[in-house]
């Protein structure tokens, strides 16, 4: 059986690939495909945040009784990334290449240091604390927007 760690880490990698495809198309100024890819990336990552915030983090908080610990910091970072993503979507709609690439580089580093903390510290904790409910907790992620609607 898959662990929550594995599943969520795989989802990070899926978002990474969508990110790279969008960035490449922006670099090529292929705006139609770039727009499609960037919006697919945006949808995938927002879905990932939403799954964590509405399912995984509450389960962890309930199991450990911790409200203000690591999950609080992760939610705060999600908020920072949502702001960057909104600006990124503005840049893609305005077909502003310099702005998009400037923002996307910043988002990539922010997203990756956030992912490192989740993959190496938080997810293993969630695996440990929420082992009994893991199937139920994983179920929500499978209905990604990618699966139901390719953006």
């Amino acid at each position: 059986m898959d662990s929550i760690s594995h599943l969520m880490t795989d989802d990070h990698r899926r978002c990474d690939h969508l990110f790279a495809e969008a960035e490449q198309q922006v670099a090529n100024k292929n705006w139609e495909l770039a727009g499609k890819n960037a919006h697919a990336f945006n949808a995938a990552i927002l879905h990932h945040f939403q799954h964590e915030e509405s399912t995984l983090f509450p389960a962890f908080e309930k199991a450990t009784g911790m409200q203000g610990g690591p999950t609080h910091m992760m939610r705060h970072e999600h908020e920072q990334m949502r702001q960057l993503l909104a600006e990124l979507m503005d840049a893609i709609d305005a077909q502003n290449q310099d702005r998009y690439l400037g923002l996307s580089e910043t988002l990539l580093i922010f997203m990756q240091q956030h992912n490192m903390k989740e993959e190496q510290i938080l997810y293993p904790m969630i695996d440990q604390e929420c082992a009994e409910d893991s199937e139920q907790l994983m179920a929500g992620l499978h209905s990604t927007p990618e699966n139901s609607n390719a953006a």
């Binding site: 990110f19 610990g69 690439l101 580089e105 990539l108 580093i109 922010f110 510290i121 904790m125 440990q128």
Partner: protein
């Protein structure tokens, strides 16, 4: 599991790593000023005190300085264990370490035992504070990722390197302590392989797959590589130590260890280059160029070393240039162009995005903090300086001054880029 210490803090105070990063190019600049003053004669004697002054300005002043700054930044993020009182500790460490390195270099350059004694007095607490703080953080680290284990090995190696270094420096400075030259190869081995290389390897495990969007390093490789270096270093040190006590016929054993280190490091270089060639993020930036240059130079340095060992040639200066400037410094320099703009953005975002009326629209992106075109200019200078240095050693010493002038321009430019990034940070805070 104890979660109480864990906050997944975003980062320590911005000045904590930046003071180290800003100082690093200054030490490298100073190193080349010294070389300019000494002239090309310095190349004829690898062990002259002036050569030692230059080497330590580079290895301690640039390489270790940047890696210490990076550890203050990375440990809380990667390991989930922050360094206690990191802001104050970094200030004290930086002050003591900077003074210690300057005194050490001056002591060697001017052959003044008093300065060397002073440097030992200052470096001991400087290094001890840093080593104790990072060891504490690494012992308490929540993450069991391979890169954390690698960092533990790197810090352990720095303990050994520093102890051997202080013993050797005491031999130079104090009449009462004999100069134990048989420790010199061990000091170099633990410093270059255990500290510098393992630290770069541990960072590579994290940043190569994540920042270039590549496949991960194979688990077997990440589990075995750094521990093999550690075990080989311990065995090699034990062998070296005993061979000075009793006479063991050992050319072949030395060569065997050498070949083992060669295989480990070459596999790291080649595998990382392969990962980067297969990267999903096709858009190349300055950091990627620095990484690729660094890994290629590591490969070249190993091949030259192998050639020198087998054909009994004295090529240590060429190996030194390729390893320190080509490999370690290229990679550190490249990483600075990711870390510094990101820290500026991150701290501005924390301070302004939710509080300033102008909000996030006034916060420069990483590319606006240090532009890729600007950093590429410094990359080309670095590459040109590297080529000229190799030409000085292999073709003619008439390239000597030209190489030094390009290195000086290179470090002045790197300093300006870092300094301007700090000014941008201050300017944005000032106009909120």
């Amino acid at each position: 599991m104890n979660y109480n210490q864990l906050s997944l803090e975003q980062a320590p105070d911005i000045s904590t790593p930046l003071r180290f990063f800003l100082s690093a190019p200054l030490f490298a600049f100073l190193a080349f000023c010294l070389l300019m003053y000494q002239g090309p004669e310095i190349l004829s004697n690898r062990w002259s005190p002036q050569t030692l002054a230059f080497t330590h300005l580079v290895t301690l002043g640039f390489i270790t300085m940047s890696m210490v700054g990076a550890l203050f930044q990375l440990l809380p993020v990667l390991a989930g264990a922050s360094i206690p009182r990191s802001s104050q500790l970094s200030l004290v460490t930086h002050l003591l370490f900077s003074c210690g390195v300057l005194l050490l270099a001056a002591g060697f350059a001017f052959e003044q035992a008093t300065l060397l004694k002073l440097s030992i007095i200052v470096l001991i607490p400087g290094l001890l504070i840093f080593l104790l703080a990072t060891s504490y953080a690494l012992i308490n680290a929540q993450s069991s990722h391979a890169s954390i284990n690698s960092m533990r090995i790197a810090i352990f190696s720095l303990w050994i390197t520093a102890t051997l270094g202080l013993l050797l420096a005491s031999g130079h400075a104090l009449d009462a302590i004999p100069l134990l030259r048989q420790f010199t190869p061990l000091h170099i081995g633990w410093g270059t392989l255990g500290w510098i290389s393992v630290m770069i390897i541990s960072v590579a495990y994290q940043v190569v797959p994540m920042f270039q969007i590549t496949f991960s390093y194979p688990k077997l490789m990440t589990r075995l590589l750094s521990p093999s270096i550690l075990i080989a270093l311990i065995l090699w040190s034990a062998y070296r130590y005993t061979s000075t006590q009793v006479s063991i016929p050992g050319e072949a054993i030395d060569l065997g260890f050498f070949f083992l280190f060669f295989c480990i490091m070459l596999s790291f270089a080649l595998f990382t280059l392969k990962l980067e060639a297969q990267r999903k993020k096709r858009l190349a930036d300055t950091t990627l160029y620095f990484w690729m240059t660094g890994l290629s130079c590591l490969g070249f340095s190993l091949v030259v070393l192998l050639y020198a060992e087998f054909f009994d040639q004295e090529l240590s200066i060429l190996v030194g240039i390729l390893f320190f400037f080509g490999f370690a410094i290229s990679i550190i320099n490249g990483m600075l162009y990711k870390i510094i703009p990101f820290l500026v953005w991150l701290h501005l975002h924390r301070k302004l995005a939710f509080s300033s009326p102008r909000g996030r629209s006034g916060i420069p992106t990483m590319n606006e903090v240090i532009n890729n075109r600007q950093s590429m200019r410094q990359y080309w200078l670095h590459l040109l300086a590297l080529v000229l240095s190799i030409a000085t050693i292999t073709i003619s010493t008439k390239f000597f001054y030209m190489a030094i002038l390009v290195w000086l321009a290179n470090y002045a430019l790197l300093f300006i880029h870092i300094f301007r990034a700090i000014l941008t940070y201050r300017h944005c805070l000032g106009t909120k």
